[in-house]
Amino acid sequence: MADSGAMSGAALPDAPRRAVNGRVLKDSVVRMSPGRLVSNPVMFIVELCFFLVAAMAVYPRGFVPVATPSETPFYVEVAVTLLVTVWFSTLADALAEQQAESTARSLRRLETSVLSKKVVTKEWSRETVPTPSKDLRKGDLVLLENGDVVPLDAEVLEGIAMVDESLMTGESTPVRKAPGDALIGGARVVSDTLTARVTANPGETYIDQMIRMVESSKRPKTPNEQAVTIVLIGLTAIFTIIILSLLGLSITLGLGGDLSVLIALYVCLLPTTIGALLPAIGLSGVSRLYGRRIVAKSGRAIETAGDTDVILLDKTGTITVGNRQAVEFIPFEGHTESEVGEAAFLSSWYDDTPEGRSVIRLAHEKGFLPRELNSLAPSEVYEFSASTRTSGIKLGRGFGFILPKGDKSGKDRGRLRRKAAMSSEEEEAASEYEILKGAPDSIRKLSGNVPPGFDKTVESISAAGETPMAIAKNGEPIGIIRLKDVLKPGIEEKVQAVKMMGIRPVMITGDQPLTAKSIASEVGISEYVPMAKPEDKFRIVQAEQAQTHVAAMIGDGTNDAPALALADVGLAMNSGTEAAKEAANMVDLESNPAKIIEVVLLGKQLLMTRGAVTAFSIANDVAKYFAIMPVIFAAAYPQLSAFNILGLGLHSAVLSALIFNAVIIPLLIPLSMRGVKFRPASTMSLFLRNTMIYGVGGVVVPFVGIKAIDVLISVI
């Protein structure tokens, strides 16, 4: 498994536990009752066989000619082994169930039952009524004050506040929430006040969906699980015919076969290993996904993830850290770097975008602290507008810059302003002036004429796939800020892994083609869609599916929702809107878009584990045949001992095979719960590797195992 950024953080729900404790033991015994077991046809048959052999042990005379009274101790041994086989299987179930329950429990903790302040409008005035969260309904308004817990998933209508979502996401820093943002049920408001509209009824949140899914009794079998079950039933039918025929022949041909030996052969041939572990494998897939803080709404979605052959990767957040970061100030002739840097600094003072912040950081790192910060005041701030594609600031006389309100960056800037004040020694009589920054062509249009080198600089930056941003002072372009995309650490390896598994990564970005191409080729992606709007994702998914590809994508905005719903695997960010989370079939609580790749790997791992245990289980039968065959008709035809290539004793051959058949179940429980280990590789090499380990190994291992048990038995 590729390294997957394991969960961290103290506030996270408990990690799934696997230890066998008293409760699990008790549960596993309760599950052995025939009524409970009937849902697992293979193990149910094993239990029936136990009752039959137990009856032989109690009253062997009733089973003559297929039983011998003197063999009673052997019947007891066989019966006990059969019972233990059943118990091992219920133990696997109980363990998986415990893991799932602890997941469900930790999920339920997210749904805090609190008394909320429901807002009701009464005769022109608003009042709040204390209401338990279970009585809230979709559309209700709630008032959330400092310290309040968000009762259910909701959407902010009024106010800006910091909200602590650490319980859900593991992110310890409180998040700023403004109107339109989504609130997760269970989060806590840690500053200011919000009014929010409830967006889900109690019991309908995606957390509830997840809880329902991990509770295995309510979990519908996935299509693949159903198909595997059919194979198991088919094999069971075949082996039933075989054993009944052998029994019939044994009597009519006078072969003197013993019923208990035939039953032992039957149980050994039955796909007990996969039959016992199948439910645990499916359940643990869900739990493993949750271990990575991803909530899947159906088991089917996880399997589909394994089939993905196209991943749509949003450039921002998945491939690159966030937005672009300023890396260089390039002055035009007649200007200095510090002049450009200071101008860029001033123009970005109120620009709270990641780019703006990175400009300030770069200027600070380089020591370009404009003295105007204390001598002048912004008389006008030009917000970025799509029509002019610039933003800027107009400076006039005043008492210095005020700090932007609210968040963390405000504090940083306060620190910077003090620093600037210390470094400015004298008050300079500065006059009013205006700084604009923006797309080079917009600046060129506003300025009329541009200095020599303008085009050359812009072109060379664009050609490198980076973004130039021009700075103009009083209408005169003075320099360029070079902005660069910063790749997420490890993204190249992840893209490489995806490609190795035969999956096509497609990068989606709003960037210009040149920029897009540069980033894509930097991480090794050959397909990209530049200048894409969120709505385009729907079109892209549609086009991929029309070519019968299985597409996975991530999304967070409301305009991503149609595409998320259409995609075969849609992973929504928990920080995204309710519509997006509703439409997607998985939600990442940590809101890390790069996790889409892990989802695909986990899906593959789940299918591989199921396949490996199935193949192993069937391949095991060959050795068991060789162990038991010589014994069945040993009385009539001692020549059949030619099959006894392991040199086993008569009784111990049967017991060894049966015991191996039983103990292999608990031995494979960790593999089933943890999943088959794999390194990303092509489909064919994964297949070859697993076929060698679990297919060929499945033929060889039981020969060794049965012989070892035989030796042990003979020692005892």
Binding site: P223, N224, Q226, A227, I230, V231, I233, G234, A237, I238, I241, I242, S245, G248, L249, I251, T252, L253, G254, L265, L269, E303, G306, D307, D309, M501, G502, Q547, T548, V550, K604, Q605, L607, M608, R610, G611, A612, T614, A615, I618, D621, V622, Y625, M629, I632, F633, Y637, Q639, L640, A642, F643, F678, T683, M684, L686, F687, N690, T691, G695, V699
Partner: protein
Amino acid sequence: MITLLQFISVAAILGVTIVIAWLLAPYVTGVFTGKSSPLDRLFGPLERAVYRILGVDPQRGMGWKEYFFAGLFVNVAQMALAAVILTFQGSLPLNPMGFKGLSWDLTFNTVISFATNTNLQHYAGEATLSYLSQMTAIQFLQFTSAATGICMGVAFVRGFVAGSKDLGNFYVDFTRSITRILIPFCLVAAVILVFLGVPQTISGYRAVTTVEGAAQSILVGPVASLVAIMQLGTNGGGYYGANSAYPFMNPNPQSNILEIALMLLLPTVLVFVFGQMLGKKKETIPILVGAYALFGIDLAIAFIPAAPQGAGIETRIGGFYSVFWTVVTTAVTTGSVNTTLSAMHPLVILSAFMGMLIQSTPGGKGVGLMYMVMYVVITLFVVGLMSGRTPEYLGMKITGRDVKLVMIAFLVHPLIILIPTVVAYAGGFAQAVGVGTNSVGFTQVLYEFTSAAANNGSDFLGTAANTPFFNVATAVVIFLGRYVPIGVLLALSGSMLGRKRNPEAGLKTDGLLFSAVLVGSILILVVLTFLPFLAIGPILAYLQGHVNFFG
């Protein structure tokens, strides 16, 4: 063990047969894809006349149900017709030897046996059937049953072809496989056989006086044409009770080799047709490699003991070629024999069992291919998951329903072989015809039902099994063994029509790696199912030191 020369001759015969099959395959593919050919001028008017008489619209495609039931209807109608002829042959013309009509149970057995391409014979033809019966009930059914097999196989493939809308029209396929494949191929084969000394006449048995003065009846008849279709159509029903051990059916080593090649020809052609119709010639690789690798294993087992000599072996042909023939005839479910099976070493019989239990090495024409695809689907499903994707075949996801269908198809075989075998002993029917309860006797009974279930037709019991129990039991087994898997697998193919196809990012099936896994998985499946029974049959006989089954 075999000598180097023998090894080379076996390899050469198989190699030449595969090459000829490869050369003929494009023609056969053309017949079923409606490709225009110079032969249209010859066959076109005849075929159109047939369609007009039958009232068939040759353009109308059929779904799997309609196709299957059309085939079943035609087959059952032919059974009924043949039953009338066999029952009343005593009163019908072309009966110079004055044979009486057959008993009801023998008739029941014989018509089902021949209409299903099985040709299990509980009678000796030369002493039981009139010329009319031989030419209509026997020879005609050999053409139609072979054609039915080809049609079902071709229709099955159509379901997997991208862009197919239906499985084709049964009546059209049926007509064309007779006019354009079986008749021309048989004509060529029959002419060569006549040159090799096989008689072709309808002038009655010749009474001659031997040099020693004894009177002898020379049992001739329209033999060459029958031999051609019985081998090419993997039928196996002989003109004479002794089948291809009789000099007029298989006069010399040359005819023996030719007939071996004829048996293998059409099943191998269809393996190539599979890839060609799919438009993915490489998909033939696993089918071909799977079939011939398993066939090679069968041959290796059969050639372990020294070639039999003496009783039951035709000296014209020799022990070695008798063994080779026996493996081939069971591998393609023909069932014609050139020796008595009782003369064979237990390991040869074990190898024969393998051929009949696997049924696709390369199996009967059409159905062998269907079975191999069935194994491919089971294998893909079980091991394909290990590649980390939902298993796909030809880009199509294998669903729970597909798995259910292939499991049913696979389950039919153990059911219809094992249950009647147990009943034959439990009811005393086997003991009644003189079959023992030891390994030799058990092998014979198990072989009878395995041969019936696999629609092979070779058997140990021969006319001894002409009892109501064996006649009816084997007839029922034959019927189920023929139509249930065909119906179920056609349903599988029908459900592939128009199914969403992913670009083939999954497990690649068109290479040697998958072929090897396929071979392993088929061996495991068949061994898991039948090993205990083979163990108390031929394997036990071998371990007990038997070198043949006369005892």
